[in-house]
Amino acid sequence: MKFQPIDQFATTLAPEKRQSVYGGTKATHEKRTKLLAAQFAEPDHLRRLAGEIKQHAIENLDTLLPLAEERLKAGGAQVHWAVDAEAARRQVLAILQRRGATRLVKAKTMVSEEIELAPFLESHGIECLETDLGEFIIQIDHDHPSHIVRPIIHKNRREIAVSFEKNGLGAYNDEPEVITRRAREFMRKKYLAADVGMTGANFVVAESGRLVVVTNEGNSRFSLAATKCHIALVGIEKIVPRDRDLALFLNLLARSATAQQLTVYTEFIQGPKAAGQPDGPEEMHVIFVDNGRTEVLASECREILRCIRCGACMNVCPVYRQVSGHAYRSVYPGPVGAVLSPLLAGEHFLDKADLPKASSLCGACNEVCPVNIPISDLLLRLRDKGKREGAPSPGLPPMGPWALLASQPLVWKAALFCGRMLDHVPGALIPVPAFHAWTGCRTLPKWRGGEFRKWLRVRKK
């Protein structure tokens, strides 16, 4: 029998991976919920307000982005616009080549994953080191992140110890503290030797040109302390209008992402080193990346651009918990990824058109989203788009014949009567794949088609 790709992936996932993902997401989700409820009288009001502000921002990018550009330039930063992944990669490379740079240290940025920056730079002879511990482990393992906040949520510490040993980072030891210390020793030297530091940005404030970067490891700060040039890769939707909006967004982001009141490091960056400042990058570049975002803005799914990449939707998602992020074949997994990835795929939409189907539409994601994105509605809109564009739908019963049946009362009543055959015909003879998919793991209740209508008739007499 044919099922959806993500369902097939689930059957191949190792039980210990599923356990890692399930345990990690569940614990963070529960802690997040408790923290929000304990500290705010009406967390839902905050989510709604944040959603409105972010919606306003994405609907006014035409004025907010030029404003941000103006303020960034006034602060001494250089601003670049990248229409797609290729343009963004070329711009990064041009900056590096102009400086004769060969070593880049990189804090976590999802946009760099999205534009596949690291392999591109490496092919041009540039060493590109991930400094976020999780991303570093992904890098040495030649793996892919499976969660946007916790890239190695699918790994346990024993696997990590093995890959450290394999990569010459000390004899096998699976103590998290030892692993961290070894990564730190390795990275310190790399920071000092690097030419350029790269970060993303969690927010860019239009009115002040302020970049906000949050981390828990301080790696972005290290990247910027030792290098002479800072490149920030920023999706164009990262804009918030005012500095004071940050109070709301930073409160929601840390709690939603990692169930913290505040991340350990929150950096506000407003340009390169100013005259009189003892250190910091002399040069700062901000590359605003579109890469399909304006198309999303023009679509009926534009609310997804509110996303602040906290990962709360994947933490609560019962499907994500069962399948892990790798099932989504995309940089952005989980509910947000199931919306965003097909949209960002552009002309390759059909390759990702199955992702929005990987949801029971339970709506748990809607309830945790810190910017109140109606995720399940967007999943539904993309299912409709997929159908209209001819996406294959393995395992789904054809709905045309069903709609004919359900729009003609006489045929419907006849079907209610005929359904009782289900109780008499051996299951193996029923040529309906959905029937077998159902009965593979469940029984079907006894057919009682038309009995209620009969009860009504008898009663009337």
Binding site: F3, V319, D384, M399
Partner: protein
């Protein structure tokens, strides 16, 4: 979930949208709905031409097919009477899903007109009629599964309020109660392995609470969970909340 302002119910007459699952499998839940509504002094009209709310096609992404069915239902449930649905899922399809599917259609106003008078049963009893306590008797430890379509609506709290007020009912808590049971309509057959894993997790939590009866506001979730349990050889006793209300009346000699 509610995206439209609803009219307060007027008069003593309602229309029943029995749902396709009650039509095909759970006739007693539909019978109980009529009995409960009549106990509340209402006259129940059952438009014979009714079929299904259109949700299977809507969720499957075939919105054209879904609209075809929804249009049939709009024609079938003409008039101004409140439409009562013993399912949070089908009710949400009428007052939320169809509004999405008809967004760019000329007959959206007719769909909205139906949406404005459509109620999930427990929500209707508590918030439409203002009835917050239920008489009679029902002696059981009940695990109440809040199905996902009650999110953002008043239905789950309404059903819990009614059940809690019945003498003899003990609502037991269980783990990860806010998590989906894994049914998800067509999801259950196109993602059967994930659906099964989600259902087993739900059953594990439910069984740990040792209820005597599993109760829900949707027969769909109950069909999935009880089907899994029966296939395992460990069936669970399950009832729709309206059957609990009806049985409480019977046990109390009120019906």
């Amino acid at each position: 979930m509610m995206t439209i302002e609803r009219k307060p119910p007027l008069g003593k007459k309602v229309q029943l949208m029995a749902t396709c699952l009650c039509d095909a499998f759970y006739d007693d839940a539909a019978v109980a709905t009529v009995q409960v509504l009549e106990h509340l002094g209402l006259t129940v009209e059952f438009p014979q031409a009714q079929t299904c709310c259109g949700q299977p096609a809507f969720n499957a992404g075939d919105w054209a097919a879904s609209r075809r069915v929804a249009r049939h239902m709009v024609r079938t449930f003409k008039g101004e009477l409140p439409v009562i649905v013993p399912s949070s899922s089908c009710a949400a399809m009428v007052f939320h899903g169809s509004l999405l599917a008809f967004e760019h259609e000329p007959d959206l106003p007719a769909v909205e007109q139906l949406a404005r008078r459509t109620w999930e049963l427990a929500d209707f009893i508590v918030h439409g009629l203002g009835v917050t306590t239920w008489p009679g008797r029902f002696d059981a430890a009940i695990a109440f599964h809040r199905s996902c379509h009650t999110r953002g609506s008043n239905s789950a709290e309404a059903a819990a309020t009614l059940m809690r007020s019945i003498p003899g009912v003990n609502l037991v808590e269980f783990g990860e109660a806010e998590q989906c049971c894994g049914f998800g309509g067509t999801f259950s057959v196109s993602f059967p392995h994930i659906s099964e894993a989600m259902g087993r997790l739900k059953l594990q939590h439910l069984r740990a609470a040792q209820p005597q009866v599993l109760v829900g506001v949707d027969t769909s979730c109950l069909m999935h969970l009880s089907g899994l349990a029966e296939k395992e050889g460990q069936p669970v006793k399950h009832l729709h909340v309206v059957q609990v209300l009806r049985d409480a009346l019977k046990n109390g000699g009120l019906l």
